[in-house]
């Protein structure tokens, strides 16, 4: 039995960090495999949420709460990135469909 609370938190937060890294690797596998652009954007979104979780777990591990500020800033930037990618997807999808429709008219 672990008597010291600090040791318990050290061990458990290290375990949590390992699990989060495994999760990120799985999400990264989906990012590489695709198969469509939308799948990659969803994988990137999950990875950014996992990075926020990783920062929080590392704040427990290091006993330094300033990593939470990093988590706040990263969450803001990641949300903007996801929105930008989604808008890009929507726009490029529209362009592709317009091209398809044009070709359909010519035929």
């Amino acid at each position: 039995m672990i008597a010291d609370s600090q040791t318990l938190l050290q061990i458990v937060s290290r375990l949590a960090l390992v699990l989060l890294v495994i999760s990120m690797a799985l999400a990264f596998f989906r990012l590489v495999r695709g198969p469509q652009a939308a799948d990659r954007v969803v994988a990137l979104d999950l990875i950014s949420v996992l990075i926020v979780a990783f920062l929080a777990a590392y704040a427990v591990h290091a006993g330094d709460t300033s990593f939470l500020d990093v988590a706040i800033a990263y969450a803001l930037v990641a949300f903007l990135g996801t929105v930008a990618l989604a808008r890009f997807l929507l726009r490029s999808g529209r362009a592709a469909r317009a091209k398809r429709n044009q070709k359909g008219d010519e035929c």
Binding site: S5, L19, A59, L68, I72
Partner: protein, 122 residues
Amino acid sequence: MLSAIIAATLLIVGSLFCLVAAVGMLRLPDTLIRMHAATKAGTLGTGFILAAEAVAADDLGTTIRAVAVIVFLLLTAPVAAHLIGRAAYHRGVQLFEKTWIDELDHTMKNKQADPDSERPQS
């Protein structure tokens, strides 16, 4: 010691939720179903881990910051998921073969498949 045990439990539960989200990301059959895993399980797991940090630090400032991150995630995750899902659907993403109802498809056919036309004309 009690707060350490609570924090440890929250850490384990949160990281397991994150792992489930990642496994779902890998195993589920199509983009929109995968978003279900990524958005809900991922946000819940991250919320648990942030709560663990708040409990472990046992400090008002840290708790407020952790709650701020949780609230921010809960506000932005649905917005981001909605935008991605909308973009993916309008790109004509391949749906799972066992999908048996697609109500948006019906709507889109009525509106001549133009995503702009669903906006109110003001």
